[in-house]
Symmetry: D3
Subunit: 316 residues, 6 copies
């Protein structure tokens, strides 16, 4: 298999096809223009500079273009950066598209769709089952396309469904180990908890927050969707079944400071919150380790409140 | 006018009609039963003990009964407490009801209803006007009966509407002083901001939190009501008008730690939050001063994060 | 099966055998002596008062005695309390011992011993396997007898081993779901993480903190034990294997504020911390729900930072 | 009216007169010198770079000079920045002075002076009236010239008096709405609360903190001034009138963490604190909105603890 | 020497002269009156109950009376409490006064006066020397009589001067060890830092906060005194000498949260703050150890943020 | 004596010998290479840029090289920076070594060694004396060479021993002033408290954290060393003597948030903590003052939680 962006070492010269994710035209201190690029393939994204860019280059190499690049991997302020030596448009016959260069969930979409279908039968409480089925259907397209976050963790196409299924799997194991847990409620909460992100975020490419996302937030957005679904399904929104389902979803950030308007007061809400954190932190540790040499510490990770992560040499 | 509960001084003997708000039968250390009462009239509530209660007294003097009481005001752990000397049922011919002994808002209900009617015409944005009109109509009865809180501030019958109107008045003055403020939005937000308390709380007497109140909270509850109202009125819930109205309401506690899922990002949301705090703290200071002698400091007030309040002798 | 202490309802009269866990002689305000007792059976502990105690009763009914009790369940400050009507020594022929009245782990000791034996073979890294085997052997007796905490969670005989195995089971599932996790390290960390409690606490009955527990704390105490074990086994304490094992154990409280001298910087340390919190909070929710009627909220739980817990009526 | 600095859009070429607020000579990475300027007119300040500056330019274009500038508006790290194309000294015949390029309060100085004169008659308590009159007279010049802060809010010439009067207006409305408020005390407190800034800050141009400002702070500085005024007016500094006035001023930051040595314990102190915050946050929101396109969010605002501000498209 | 209050052990019967510090008449649950006393001698204070008090006893045994007491030491809620068996007025011929029963500083007043006189000559900066001399003279009587705090540390007659001298001694040693420290400034700051307590507190017996103490606080009160002294001595209050002296005094609590309006920005201010904390915490540890058996932990100490203190058996 | 790096003023041209502490090859925006250097002599370190570096220069001027430098002192972002004009290798005949350019403790090593030898005799408790002697011997070389921190305070060769002795001197004075302090324990704790830094840090030149330092931390590392020493000396690690010694060392950071697993519960632990902070903050103030002009404020100091430090002009 061809080498990817992140397969090349410091100071190594590379030649490969990449996607231009963004391209800013800037003026250097000597008055010349250069292009500050972000280049990507399925191994990740890396910034790169094309110095002394001429008018033609500026015109050709805009965001969304797929290019054949010659470059050298350097370091800038402790982070990898490319010195771009040459860019050329790729051969159209290769029929490459942006999707060939985007990180995706390590599980195929169809497999996720199938599993979710099966899961719905495991929610034995009819109220919760109907709400979940209704909302997953309503947001079907985006649920399998969106990332789970703008940055930090599962920030790739399909990340939302993938992260959701990771939590479902954890939830199933916990329900097996602690049999008094209400598995229906836990599964329903797990499937819905981050679904508001399909409204909060703009999509899987160049992800930003929408106006609704900033002003309302995904937790309240999914709560509203549940209430509207209940209305459409002619369910009583003040029945206990609907109160506990909304509570479990509203409380899943655990603390008011993290944006939940209530702290978990129901066992399944507490478990969902902790499994959500567990899966997210495993993903952040994995990211950090992937960019760190064995025997070394990563840089400080914002999403881990500034901790460094150690990449052990010991594997067993 | 007859003297009220709080008009009597320490060690003074009193004789007056009061409402029994609660009555707990307890066993003293010498084995005898006594009744731990909470007595109330329009000046407020005070605990009182009826020692050595006999079976007949225990039967007669239950919560909700109106009684003629002889008692002495004492102090227990720095707070007023009654030593109840005698209780008798009141003469039925007086036709007294519990409502005669309940603290109420210092503004008549009809006057509040009239003012709110007028206010609706000052919301010139049709989306906001329709939503507010719809929801005030839906919760009309409770809006004028409920307190604004379980304890702390405006914890009396009609307190919710009264607190709401206080904020409306402040909002009108602020809009006049800062003409770029969107007065329609500020008024709409002010009228709706605490309306969820009609679902969060149980009522104006012996107020407790409902299950919905504990599990969802009044901020999310009113947000859901707005969304359902929009649905009923066939308005687009993701239009900017509806996003900013919900944002202003959702953000009115100002900080995530205080239960808002988002911090105010719109001027009118910030103003509503600060006026809400201003009116609440004026009410808490007034309460504290009312129970403190001039020239003295009150006990520490929980709702003011443990501060004492000074009652100045200087009046001018 | 005979009814236990917690099977009786409020105001119900009971008659059963219980263990006196503590007995304080106090003087009532009328000058008479009474005994403030804590009574227990396998359903839990409850305080009780024996009023007007005579000299003989004071002499007979001391801590550790097993008695036949007649009593009424009452409520004092929102918590259950017994009014003890009569106490008598139990018939010696019943051959009851204190252990018959103590809460124990819901898993038999031998089963736990067997499982731990098997687990040692799953730690494939020889350094970690040797350390774990050495320390579990050294603290074998106490590991299966001690509670996992003085109060809050798993505060019963055998609670330490039981809590440890719960985490082991969670850890095994997580390792299966995330195959890059170093299962050996996670299991070794899980088995050792709370072993210092055998030095920090005094035992399973009337548990208190030892001087070493207060002055050093169980996290540092087990770290010291690991270092001494390494010394005894002639292992290099500054090898990576030993550094990461100690790190995982030292970091398992997650935050400096919770007593870990370092935050988790290794994936397995992060996971161990989160599984530890998960199991502890499930146990605290279960406790709270067990003492709360369906459809009601518990009192505020200290170990859950003052949250109330809701006991849903919905079971499915 | 001629276009101002902030009237030009991104990438637009401009030609206008501006004041050089600061000019730093720096060496570019290619060894050439350039001038890092801050340019200003009444629409605000903007940084600008004059690349490849020669010795003559370096000599001519120093801080305080008024220049005719040709430039292009660019963006640097998300903030506006000028690429300066040409600078020339302005025609002396225009008789422009620095004051023509400085932001000023949106209220004329004389109008503010007149209103303050009238206000003194509304302080009916003679002690407070004399203290306020004495201190406003003592600091008369600076009170009408200084900004209310170095940055964040009301950071313009006359900002101190303007911010003070805004709070006075709010205070008058609150006093009308809550008639038990001691308006004399609230007005006296409002007029004095930030007067210490005339000692804490260096002036309205290139504002910095003075040594006294850093070491003592404006809250203590005005308290000292009150005490000295009382001494000069032969008033008893330990009378209640003087204690409550000082308290209201000392407590106006509300929290110890914000530099008040005491939290408000008097109603008027609490109100002053909240009105101060209200006016300041309105000003900060206005600033943020002014630099943000409708329908967009501002950058994160330091003075609003890192919040973004939304500029609604809805105006009514 | 006769045995003191704290020399008697639990359950031991005692007979000795004590001062009644306070006497509250209360009604027991059986309807009888009793007196809740606080008794004191130079070993400390202890609460005590005189049950079934008759009218004569209630009249005789009021606060301030010196009595001959027979009592038994008991424990109530983990703290010592006396069961008072008999009280009688002391023989007047003994000529005992309240001062014979009050805890005092472990250093004679005259010795403290003498040392302070000497210290003034070591402040070589004339501005600081004049200010300190002026203020110590002005508050001479109270400085040697007042406690250093209402509770927590040095809460005894003469405690203020004694605590001040402890810090002076620490300051002298630090100045010797770090010769670049400005000893004059450090000594001046040490002598003045808590002098505001003579205005903040009511005196050495039944110490309470004054109105000025609550509303202004001792830090600002001494700062005002410095400014007035400077005025009286015709010194420029904005000279550096006076700014740094005030800063050192204002900043001595170290953090805004602890009531300093500024944090230490001058070396001597930082040192004064840390020595103040050091002496206070030594006194709190000593208090806690004095009430704890060797080998045991004290109860949780409020002034040490809830820590327990260990009393080691090891003495060397 | 020859002028040192920090003796030259802004814009002054200098010529002197310096050590290259680090040398990074970077590419300027114009495509040319330059060397980003850190230069040092005994007056401190300063960054410097050698623009347009040729291949020969890049090869010659690497970290560790001693060079004769011509440069001009400039300012970059408020901090001193050198524009390097010329570099040449120094004459080998001068026999200069890196040690001639490193900041060292202001006390000769031999003097420190001698004093520590004497100190051991003042620890009269044989357990503590043996442990301290054993560990100081074990880490003898590094104890006198290592810095006390990577940055912030005492970050120079010999800083660890020097900081330790400073605290010892403070401890001796405190023990003299408060005679009930256990001087043996305080001295033993002072001598050991930071000894773990010999394992936590990499050395005195280009100091970094070791893997053990990051994963375990110096507090736990020295605690482990004490336990191993006790083992080697056949002392009981759970004797009170060893518990209190470990406690004093473990608690010396004072707060859990600062990395101590326990807060000080023994007087000597509290004192050690406060003396440690005192010496560290004096060193940080001294550093800040040394880089600040009299009458000016330093930049914000990270180690002093962002405070500025004032350099008074007043010296007496």
């Amino acid at each position: 298999m061809a080498q990817k962006l992140y397969d090349f070492k410091l100071d190594e010269r590379m030649e490969l096809n990449v996607l231009i994710k963004s391209a800013d035209i800037r003026v250097a201190k000597n008055g010349n223009q250069y292009i500050a690029l972000v280049l990507a393939d399925t191994s990740g994204e890396m910034p790169g500079m094309l110095w002394e860019a001429n008018a033609n280059q500026i015109k050709l190499f805009s965001a969304g273009t797929i290019v054949h690049m010659q470059a050298v991997r350097q370091v800038y302020q402790g982070k990898p950066q490319l010195k771009v030596l040459n860019l050329a448009l790729v051969d159209e016959q290769l029929q490459l598209t942006a999707n060939d260069f985007v990180q995706t969930a390590p599980m195929q979409k169809q497999k996720m769709v199938d599993e979710v279908s099966q899961l719905l039968f495991q929610i034995t409480n009819p109220t919760w089952a109907r709400i979940v089925r209704y909302l997953l259907q309503k947001h079907e397209t985006t649920f399998y396309e969106f990332p789970a976050a703008k940055t930090n963790h599962h920030a790739f196409s399909g990340g939302l469904a993938f992260h959701t299924l990771s939590i479902v799997h954890l939830a199933q194991n916990v329900s097996k180990q602690y049999p008094h847990v209400n598995e229906s409620l836990l599964l329903a909460g797990a499937l819905l908890h981050d679904l508001g992100k399909t409204i909060e975020l703009s999509g899987s490419i160049a992800t930003t927050y929408t106006t609704a996302g900033n002003l309302i937030g995904h937790i309240t957005l999914i709560d509203e969707e549940i209430v509207l679904a209940a209305q459409a399904l002619q369910l009583d929104i003040y029945s206990e079944d609907l109160l506990v389902l909304r509570h479990v979803v509203l409380a899943h950030h655990g603390l008011l400071e993290y944006g939940s308007p209530v702290r978990p007061m129901i066992l399944e809400g507490q478990i969902l919150h902790q499994l959500d954190e567990l899966d997210a932190s495993i993903q952040m540790f994995d990211n950090a380790v992937a960019h760190t040499e064995p025997g070394k510490f990563s840089e400080r990770i914002y999403g881990l409140s500034g901790r460094m992560v150690y990449h052990p040499t010991t594997k067993e």
